[in-house]
Amino acid sequence: MGKKLLLEHINEPGIETFDVYRKKGGYASVEKALKTMTPDAVTEEVKRSGLRGRGGAGFPSGMKWSFIDKKSDKPRYLVCNADESEPGTFKDRYLMERLPHLLIEGMITSSFALGAKTSYIYIRGEYMYIVRILERAIDEAYANGFLGKNILGTDYSLDLYVHPGAGAYICGEETALLESLEGKRGNPRLKPPFPAIAGLYASPTVVNNVETIAAVVPIINMSGDEYAKIGVGKSTGTKLISASGHINKPGVYEIELGLPVEEFIFSEEYCGGVWKDRRLKAVVAGGSSVPILPTELILTTAKGEPRLMTYESLSDGGFATGTMLGSGGFIVMDETTDIVKNLYTFARFYHHESCGQCSPCREGTGWMEKILHRLHHGHGKKEDIDVLVDVAKKIEGNTICPLGDAAAWPVASAVRHFRKEFEAAAVEELLV
């Protein structure tokens, strides 16, 4: 059994209430940080822990925190990204639903480290019922002196708000999120400036994923060095994986980074193997945006080493033979899966979610969807496959935000690894 740092108490009855959460050792990190540490010492622990952003990009969190502009005379903000809309990803939902106080505890400790006096949880509109869960928990935290003025009698004060979006994947992109939080249309901003310099209301801001912020709690409790002992190399600690698709036991699993992919898929402790005694065909390992890999490349790297659930191992081989850990949305596909149809579904999603600001993504995502629609419905041509790949190439790297890349990568990888299926889907010659 791997260590559980986040989900240890998730099945405890009443854990969503302040009292039970507190009895189980909750809010200890707030007490420790506020009473015995300086804000910089908290940041230092996060740096030492090696924690990397759990929202998808895997950027070192301690480093991100240290970029925040401390010279600015503007207020600083911590914004939690709870927009979780990446197809295949549902770990933040699970955590917030059952352990709202864990997120709130993480928000308080992290806000203290950053010197934020007001913080926000930006949550996707579809999670309305979770807004209520969080607000109830926030009320409890205020009532117990963990939020509001002079927390635990110290001179640190914090207000925390939950803000629901209107249901847009793009509002998970951190600058679109900030626009939306400011009440504007959720279009990504051009960078630089980065949020650490000019984020919310043009003030220094850190945006972190739900799981990232929750992970700060065990880091402060056990110390950064202890946290860093879990995992392999630069992939430290535990990670929540949303496992879905053709497996016997779909669900959210907390794994120690470094677990072999094969063990994750086939062991009884995790996914429990491919369902219906079928064979594994492919895996999308980190949410719909990351490259799809066929069985032989997801279980072992191109060099023949076992593939591990780490940032480095999953991306071994670059995009030619590797993929990314991303947000940990692990989608398993059995031998009956129609890759063309799957890709068409993804393409439809990205077309629907493009904000439309920049031309390669606005036009290219729709074009890719249309070509895939044709291929999927049996009236695509062989040449369409090359056009498809070329369109993806012309989007990739040329857009304002990474949604364009997120739309292009699945296409490029699916054709790279499953070209035969696309060719089989295409008709030889159109009969007119």
Binding site: A168, I170, R185, L190, H351, H352, E353, S354, C355, G356, Q357, C358, S359, P360, R362, E363, G364, T365, G366, W367, K370, V387, K393, K394, I395, G397, N398, T399, I400
Partner: protein
């Protein structure tokens, strides 16, 4: 001050200048095209991606290249920066892609579009686009909308540069105009088709790079290349009064603001000058407006032409037709 090179040409510009504006200070072929950036409107740019360039060296201090192509219109220069535009095959390939994307849902209805002949998209496609399309699907269409009684919005032609929304935002004090919807279903809108009625709304027409916003008082009156653009002015209490009159014989068919060589208006004009003074008598005519020879508008030869040069070019072309290599570069282009 920052010293940088663009396609090998050195230039020194003030700190904070964008790569695009640094290139414009050099001028000529190496200036990246721009479809959404507009120097006199704040926050424009970054959207169309046609101005992408490669930064082969970030600065003298940090010589690493930038990992992706960058929008030159919004990327500030740095001392010691090395920029590649025409000298980077990667940039040209990406730009070709962007032009294709911009044309994807464009109706290509130039034969019936008032903007034809002075359309930035037409020019861009001519220089960077392919002559055929790989797009087989239906193009998106919208109903035409009246924005007040003088302006027609034909969203079907729009490339979503957002310039007009910044005009609405920045030249007037009431914001009544923005973007609705998402992705390729986005549309410029006044929401409930409210009229945009302020003294400077007509400038939306001039900033539109395509024929999406057109002057209703000019629609279908004439192809622009059959009109003569004349610089003219009048004394006006609301604006500079400096305009271009687009004339046919003695008739003023249209009044517009003056655009520079990059298609940008530097002095906006008021609606009274634009829409209400359509008689030459209202204006002091300064003389013919200089129009770039590459422009189809100059087909009209309203400016004196150098017949010697023209003859030389015809001879050169004739030689070429006979299968001989072009003897020398086009003398007209060199002048």
């Amino acid at each position: 001050m920052a010293k940088l090179t663009i396609d090998g040409v050195e230039v020194e510009v003030a700190d904070g200048t964008t790569i695009l504006n640094a290139a414009r200070q050099i001028g000529g072929e190496l200036v990246p095209p721009a479809m959404c950036y507009y120097s006199s409107l704040k926050e424009t740019g970054g959207k169309c991606r046609v101005c992408l360039v490669k930064v082969a060296q970030g600065s003298g201090k940090d010589p690493r290249p930038m990992p992706k192509l960058v929008a030159s219109c919004r990327t500030p220069v740095a001392d010691g920066m090395v920029v590649q535009n025409l000298t980077s095959p990667e940039v040209l390939e990406a730009r070709k892609g962007v032009v294709e994307f911009l044309l994807l849902n464009h109706p290509l209805d130039c034969p019936i579009c008032d903007q034809a002949g002075e359309c930035d998209l037409q020019n861009l496609a001519y220089e960077h686009g392919a002559s055929t399309t790989r797009y087989e699907e239906d193009r998106r269409t919208f109903e035409k909308i009246d924005i007040g009684d003088k302006i027609k919005l034909h969203m079907t032609r729009c490339i979503l540069c957002y310039r007009c929304t910044f005009v609405a935002d920045q030249l007037t004090n009431n914001r009544v105009h923005g973007v609705l919807g998402r992705g390729d279903k986005s549309e410029i809108s006044t929401y409930i088709q409210k009229a945009v009625d302020n003294d400077f709304s007509g400038n939306m027409i001039d900033v539109c790079p395509v024929g999406a916003l057109t002057d209703k008082t000019f629609r279908f009156k004439s192809r622009v290349w059959f009109t003569k653009p004349m610089d003219a002015h009048r004394s006006c209490t609301k604006c500079s009064g400096k305009v271009v009159l687009w004339m046919k014989g003695d008739d003023v068919l249209r009044v517009s603001a003056r655009k520079d060589q990059y298609g940008e208006v530097k002095e906006y004009i008021c609606n009274e000058c634009r829409f209400d003074h359509k008689s030459v008598g209202d204006w002091t005519v300064e003389g013919p407006r200089h129009i770039d020879r590459h422009s189809v508008i100059s087909q009209n030869h309203y400016e004196k032409i150098d017949l010697q040069k023209l003859k030389k070019e015809v001879e050169r072309q004739l030689e070429f037709q006979k299968g001989k290599p072009l003897p020398e570069s086009n003398p007209l282009l060199n002048s």
